[in-house]
Amino acid sequence: MSILECQNVTKLYGSKPALKNFSLTLERGRIVGLLGPNGSGKTTLIKLIAGLLTPNQGTVTLSGMPVGVETKSIVSYLPEVTYLNPSMKIKDTVKFFTEFYEDFDQERAYSMLEHLRINPADTMKVLSKGTKEKVQLILVMSRRAQLYVLDEPIGGVDPAARDYILNTIISNYDENATILISTHLIYDIEKVLDEVVFIKYGELMLHSTVDKIRNQMGKSVDGLFREVFRC
């Protein structure tokens, strides 16, 4: 069964549509890039999957279940903003996650923190923007979820840490899990993607494997994106 199925989803903000009659199916075991210019509906789609928004029309189902309380236990969501309590220490945040999520792997979290030389005794608010992002991503990737939805996971981190984080993503996800990543940093990330989804003005433009783009069009995903979304 597909891990994600969106059927004719429309989401309006007031009278302004953020997603228009949007349909998409994702299979298990894939790393998928969600790509589109600013304001194309990427974050809206991710929030619908995470259950933070409800569609005006259409349905979103995860592993056959409509988005709701049950699906939250199979989705690990990384928002684009910081949501962790700034006065908590990292280790307390890890503890909080361990208690909150049944599928949270504490050992994995600590090993990633150590690799990135982040001190668990530090308080969140003293961390730089990039380090906060790393901590958040580590927490999200330490769950044994079936679907990871990452909204701009590497925007604020330096290129060297970006490589480590990408490696963390590919080495930690389980073969039956799918990762949906929205990003503008296509060039950095396309090497690890199986598939891409292009969206524009809330509509699906393209859903293709990366190999197909390279083989049939002789282009990188980054190159194709620049062409399709030329301003």
């Binding site: 790393i31 490589d163 590919i170 080495s171 090497k191 690890v192 199986d194 002789g218 990188s220 190159g223």
Partner: protein, 120 residues
Amino acid sequence: MPWELNNDRPIYLQLMEQIKLRIITGEYGPGDKLPAVRELAMEAAVNPNTMQKALAELEREGLVAAQRTSGRLITDDIERIRKMKREMASGELETFFRRMSRLGFTKDDIIDMIEKQGKE
């Protein structure tokens, strides 16, 4: 040998080429056991699915063989490896001749130049 990948061609094809190169240079010797897919994927910083695809294709070409329980082995057919080496070399030569002829050199010119340069 570091993994060099660019984004313009399918990654699995590039992985196949680079694994072949490693077999030719003996970095992966005949009959050697290949590292696990996940390990190789980490090393090359690619998606494990992509590495899996590259290895499956190499398997189809008979250059690696899957063992029931213990991963994959490089072929021990040394003649097969030699043949691949010669094929790769003639591919390189073809490219070279094509580029030189674009610069306006004939085959004889080129052979002449190679002999001279070789003596220096």
